[in-house]
């Protein structure tokens, strides 16, 4: 499946059905992903409490919060690893049920986990096509896959991966992250979730990855990034959402936040500075 940039993304939100949807906004302007009152309990422990979040296409939404705030749990609920105890997920304005990772994949949600889920003993092409190989006469179509992999990396302006046939084990952290992101993008994803993409990276590698995130958003893909690093967040995010002890305490355009108010929200859940909690999605 050769992936041409134009076909894999839409620069304007897709036109959904014309019937009225739950968000009160006409479907054609609804954010790609909307979470409404998402709650997740593990026995007596409530990991997520009535989380409302909008993730619009073509923008980078940063999900920040302290350890244990519920960021990973929320991501896993979107990715189909957990099913929310209550609440709704809307995709293009329509309610959807995501019970397995395959469901999420079919919707167009791709998740890049912190451990990247790459096979060190395989090369870049083999990793990018893992599970979805191109076949020709019941054998692997190496040529098609290699061309497609090179194309995707070029589209994403990933220039640091010199040969797509080198083993992933020999790539640097930033290159591995780029390959993992490219793998997610190849599936014509509409939403890409990145869990701590820059956590283990050095300065120039971080810059590589942030550049890649910009490129994704520029192609109309909705990007949801979990990060601890406020520098990276302010460098790349269009929107920020802050979680504190399982609740989404604040979200809005990045301009509404600064480093100190962000830290306040992360640590205490509230900020005296001029940030309006639950700002309407723009």
């Amino acid at each position: 499946m050769t992936n041409s940039p134009e076909s894999s993304s839409s620069l304007t939100p897709s036109t959904g059905p014309t019937e009225h949807d739950d968000s009160g906004v006409s479907p054609s302007l609804a954010p790609l992903l909307q979470l409404r009152a998402i709650t997740k309990s593990f026995g007596a422990v409530q990991a997520l409490k009535y989380v409302d979040l909008d993730v619009p296409a073509g923008k980078v939404t940063a999900l920040i919060g302290d350890n244990g705030a519920g960021k990973s749990t929320l991501i896993k609920a979107i990715a189909g690893i957990y099913t929310p105890t209550s609440g709704e997920i809307l995709w293009n304005g329509k309610v959807v049920h995501i019970h397995t990772p395959r469901d999420a994949e079919h919707l167009g949600i791709a998740t890049v986990y912190q451990d990247l889920a790459l096979c060190d003993n395989l090369d870049v092409v083999q990793n990018m096509f893992l599970g979805h190989e191109e076949m020709r006469y019941r054998t692997l179509d190496e040529i098609t896959m290699e061309l497609a992999a090179k194309q995707v990396l070029a589209d994403l302006s990933v220039t640091t991966v010199k040969s797509v046939r080198q083993k992933v084990a020999s790539l640097s952290g930033g290159q591995r992250q780029s390959v993992a992101v490219a793998k997610a993008v190849m599936r014509e994803s509409k939403l890409v979730i990145l869990d701590e993409p820059t956590a283990a990276l050095g300065v120039s590698q971080t810059a590589q990855v942030l550049e890649l995130i910009h490129t994704l958003a520029g192609r109309g893909i909705a990007v949801l990034v979990i990060s601890h690093n406020l520098n990276d967040v302010f460098a790349v995010a269009d929107r920020i959402a802050v979680m504190h002890l399982g609740t989404l305490v604040s979200s809005g355009p990045v301009a509404d936040y600064d480093a100190s108010s962000a830290v306040d929200l992360i640590t205490t859940g509230e900020s005296a500075r001029n940030v309006s909690p639950m700002a309407p999605s723009s």
Partner: protein, 421 residues
């Protein structure tokens, strides 16, 4: 390498140790990962030269053919191990399972059953594949390491083998009189057929390589320089030519005034070649093969990619069983039958063959060709030591040293190929 002076035992051991140490340092000094074949080939050359110098019969046609036939068993058993080694698993029972398969065939043809050979062979293969499936099912369902399951298998199937052979009431051995079973190893194809076989193999391989290169060039992808490809093909052709010449040399001995005619390749050789080709195709050109590598490399990544890990693990166990079955048929053919007293080192040679050839014990790395190289090396050592009338104890130690060296090299290569981030 000094010419060894042998007058008494201690000196003898020293020079052999020197040679073995030299082989070991060759392995150690190799460039990490990529040039895996070169030091092994050098190792083969060193070993061959050593044995030839010690006993000039080593490179005689008769001995070489004998060596290749010995190698066929080790190659196939090594191949049987590779399916599981790729996953990071292992099968400790391949020795006994393969002989059990061979025994099934012999019992069905040569005792009261008198089944036709094709049915007997089919049953033998089914038995070993089913045993492989059983090992796989136990490993997967019980979540017990394959090491333990197949260790239990090692003991259990040895017991079953002894029971089954003794139950035939022939005093603990069953000779294989059935023509096809016996002929597998002990009869040769005619020289003409030998020629045709090797010509077909080389032209087929050359064709595949050239068409693949051409397709890659047409798509604008990077290809090895044509000179390299040409060198590869020419080397293949030269090796095949040498093999044909060796096989077609009349190895017959003079006896009672005339010479017996013994020429052509034993039928075990094409059996091995076909198995190797089939295995290589499966591993390198099919989804199933790709997934075996993925599971061995990072099982969690494979799972997240949607691969049904358990299905492919079971497949690998069954492939191990299947390959052991074929190995067992060749084994009993060479032994001329089956006895209740089986060489318990077979499994060690199987793992040694796979690992010496370059397959990693930790999973994710290995190719079928490794079984060929490793099996050849094991056979060279085994055969050479036989020619030098070396005691069994020294033989074990030598193979152990080479195995240890190969594993050490594997571990070093693994460390060297990871880039610090």
């Amino acid at each position: 390498m000094s010419t060894p002076e042998v007058t008494n035992d201690p000196q003898f051991k020293t020079s052999r140790d020197q040679v073995l140490k030299q082989v070991w340092s060759q392995f150690k000094g190799m460039r990490r990962g990529d040039s895996g074949m070169v030091p092994i080939v050098i190792g083969i050359v060193v070993l061959v030269a050593y044995f030839q110098i010690r006993n000039s019969l080593f490179l005689s046609a008769g001995n070489l053919v004998n060596l290749f036939v010995q190698a066929t068993t080790y190659v196939l058993l090594g191949m049987a191990e590779i399916w599981l080694l790729l996953l990071g698993d292992i099968d400790l029972s391949v020795g006994y399972v393969s002989v059990l398969g061979g025994a099934s065939a012999v019992i069905l043809t040569d005792t009261q059953f008198h089944w036709p050979w094709y049915l007997a062979i089919l049953v033998a293969i089914l038995v070993t594949t089913a045993i492989g499936a059983l090992h796989g099912a136990l490993t997967i369902l019980l979540r017990v390491p394959s090491f333990i399951v197949t260790l239990a298998g090692l003991l259990a199937w040895e017991g079953v083998l002894i029971y089954v052979v003794d139950a035939q009431g022939t005093g603990g051995t069953i000779p294989a009189h059935e023509k096809v079973l016996y002929d597998l190893v002990n009869t040769n194809a005619s020289p003409l057929v030998t020629w045709i076989f090797f010509v077909v193999c080389v032209t087929g391989a050359a064709f595949l390589i050239l068409t693949r290169d051409r397709a890659r060039r047409a798509s604008g992808l990077l290809v090895q320089p044509f000179v390299i490809t040409l060198i590869k093909i020419v080397t293949m052709a030269v090796v095949a030519l040498l093999l044909v010449l060796v096989f077609n040399t009349n190895r017959g001995v003079f006896f009672a005034g005339h010479r017996t005619n013994l020429e052509g390749m034993p039928w075990a050789i094409p059996v091995d070649v076909i198995m190797l080709a089939g295995g290589t195709f499966l591993l390198s050109r099919t989804k199933a093969g790709r997934y075996l590598y993925a599971i061995g490399g990072n099982v969690e990544a494979a799972r997240r990619a949607g691969i049904s890990v358990n299905r492919y693990r079971l497949m690998a166990f069954m492939l191990t069983g299947f390959t052991s079955g074929v190995a067992g048929l060749l084994y009993i053919s060479r032994q001329g039958g089956v006895s209740d007293n089986v060489d318990s080192t077979l499994v060690l040679y199987a793992v040694a063959a796979a690992v010496i050839g370059g397959t990693s014990l930790f999973g994710g790395r290995g190719k079928i060709i490794h079984a060929l190289i490793g099996g050849l090396i094991v056979a060279i050592i085994y055969n050479g030591m036989g020619l030098l009338s070396i005691t069994a104890s020294a033989e074990y130690i030598a193979i152990a040293v080479v195995l240890l060296a190969a594993v050490a090299v594997d571990s070093l290569a693994r460390r060297g190929s990871e880039v610090s981030r």
